[in-house]
Symmetry: C2
Subunit: 356 residues, 2 copies
């Protein structure tokens, strides 16, 4: 059996509940596909602040570095919202992303059969939607210097958006590589008519594209892209963009297909190690009730098999199981219509394990 070490970081809110369903599916798939998993849990986010005084304890950092993959639930909640930046749960995400060099954030969005009705977009617009947002995750305005100066006439706040050519190049190459396994189209999104960093981005995109003559490259301005994602979503294959634009556009794309409770993500660096987490947040409003949708976390486990263990077969088996239980009518509260009986978080997870 292949031995893999997986760090499990439940985090806050519903993270604690959904991650356990992900682990269930991980173990089941591991048995079927010949893995021996060493699964170890650690604190991150608000819970870590409360117990250890820091959102990203050194022990958690160590565990992640020793692991082949990290499964994360979600972090954050109103309790820590007023904290200074260094003591906010999100700080752990930034440390984790940058510390492990996870510069490529992959967020696929496609429609699950049977769920056409849960989107606010018309079914005919959604049919065949299958896009992948590739977001740069360790550069840009998230990590640039930022400061506030208090002066007599009031405060002045500054953030800096910095991109080095090599950062742009590696994320673009990743996007082109991924497009080769899909419909061979890359939409590079920038704001080249305003930003210096976007002009560099576009220049690098044009240069890198020459190495991928079999992949079509189009440039699109971010404002236009925010429109086109709603207007003609099926025209997109791979969308690649910088950190902040990717944050906005991937959430927009996520909601296209219905519930954000269905959308997984992978954050990758140069090696095989990756961080896998649902796109949604910690949803403090429904935490602790056992009603959260674990599908996004389970689908993140599928991405773990694909990208960290290079096991497409296991990845597809998990995805197929989720598709099947949804087609068979499995619905957690976020997707259930009033006349259906909503499943609990672990009922949904059990059903997936059973089908798998």
């Amino acid at each position: 059996a292949k031995t893999k070490k997986v760090a499990v970081l439940p985090g806050d809110g519903i993270g604690l509940e959904i991650v356990e369903e992900g682990v269930k599916v991980l173990k089941q798939a591991g048995e079927q596909f010949g893995y021996h998993f060493e699964v170890e849990h650690a604190l991150i986010g608000g819970g870590a602040i409360d117990r250890l005084g820091t959102p990203f304890p050194e022990a958690t950092n160590q565990l992640c570095r020793e692991s082949d993959a990290v499964l994360l639930g979600a972090v954050g909640g109103p309790k820590w919202d007023q904290n200074p930046p260094e003591l906010r749960p999100e700080k752990a995400l930034f440390d984790l992303r940058q510390g492990l060099g996870l510069y490529a954030n992959l967020r696929p969005a496609s429609l699950f059969p049977g769920l056409e009705g849960s989107s606010t977009l018309r079914s005919e617009v959604l049919k065949d939607v299958d896009l992948l947002v590739v977001r740069e995750l360790t550069g840009g305005i998230y990590f640039g210097d930022k400061w506030t100066e208090e002066k007599e006439g009031g405060a002045t706040a500054t953030d800096t958006l910095v991109y080095h050519e090599y950062e742009i190049e590696r994320i673009l190459r990743r996007a082109f590589e991924l497009a080769r396994g899909r419909r061979r189209k890359v939409t590079s999104v920038d704001k080249a008519n305003v930003l210096e960093s976007s002009r560099l981005w576009r220049k690098v995109a044009k240069r890198v594209a020459k190495d991928y003559p079999d992949v079509e490259l189009e440039h699109m301005l971010v404002d236009n892209c925010a429109m086109q994602i709603i207007r003609r979503p099926k025209d997109f294959d791979v969308i690649v963009t910088e950190n902040m634009f990717g944050d906005i556009l991937s959430d927009e794309a996520a909601i296209l297909t219905g519930s954000i409770g269905l959308l997984p993500s992978a954050s990758l660096g140069e090696g095989s190690r990756g961080l896998y987490e649902p796109v949604h947040g910690s949803a403090p409003d429904i935490a602790g009730q056992g009603v959260a949708n674990p599908a996004a976390t389970i689908l993140s486990v599928a991405m773990m098999f694909r990208h960290s263990f290079h096991d497409e077969e296991a990845a597809r088996a998990i995805e197929q199981s989720v598709r099947q239980v949804l087609a068979e009518g499995a619905r957690t509260a976020d997707l259930a219509t009033s006349d259906e009986l909503a499943l609990s978080t672990d009922q949904f997870g059990d059903w997936v394990v059973e089908v798998l």
Copy 2:
């Protein structure tokens, strides 16, 4: 008769065609509501670059400063896309916005009866949508220092996002004032979990809100807002946000209701002078064919009456006329289904004048 001077800047592409329909309606409404208009045309954008070597000639600048209002078509086109920043058509927009101190960009989006079918969103989601994006227009990353350094290991590009407290305060006050004439709800959009400028934004929003106890304030993260605009658009009244977020979200909101050919905008400063323009661009692909939709420009003229001439009656009369011709089936090519006969740009304009 009230005498008003109006600068007309057709710009590039379809700007040349649609602006004339706006002027027609301006003149007709002027006659009916007792105005004497001095209308003067000037060059801006690509056309100005070609003829005068600069996108924003001093004569155009002078004319705008002497006018009570400016009607702009659109600027830009592939011909000038490779120009250096100083010689790009967009540069004229930045000069115009900042030169006239037009810090508040208002972009309303609501559904026109009869056009439910032209949106990709379901009709029931769109019903009663009536939102106004108030975008800060003269600060932020658009106007901060930007530079590229070429080094041995590759280039590094930097943009800076700077906000002064007074810039945030005045746009927020404007949003609260506008909300008072509407449904009394302000959604302030930021990325306070990442950006220093957003943390200042949120702090100022909380302070300013105390002066408007009759208006509800909610804070929303920009990524979440990009989702919620699609998920539950009718829950929004006034959305106020910084320059770049406003650029993205207002385009997203624009497309909600169908054609971007229907959406007007106003850019305002401290006094009554304003800049009025359609939200859409110069559409070089359809320029010169007389098929562009002039509705957004005509509705921008309505906003001119409202915000620069403080004439709500004339504004409503124009808006009502556009609504009526649309309800009567007037459709330019962007909205016509194959079996309808599409109107030309000037046929649509004439119809509005007639109804008015």
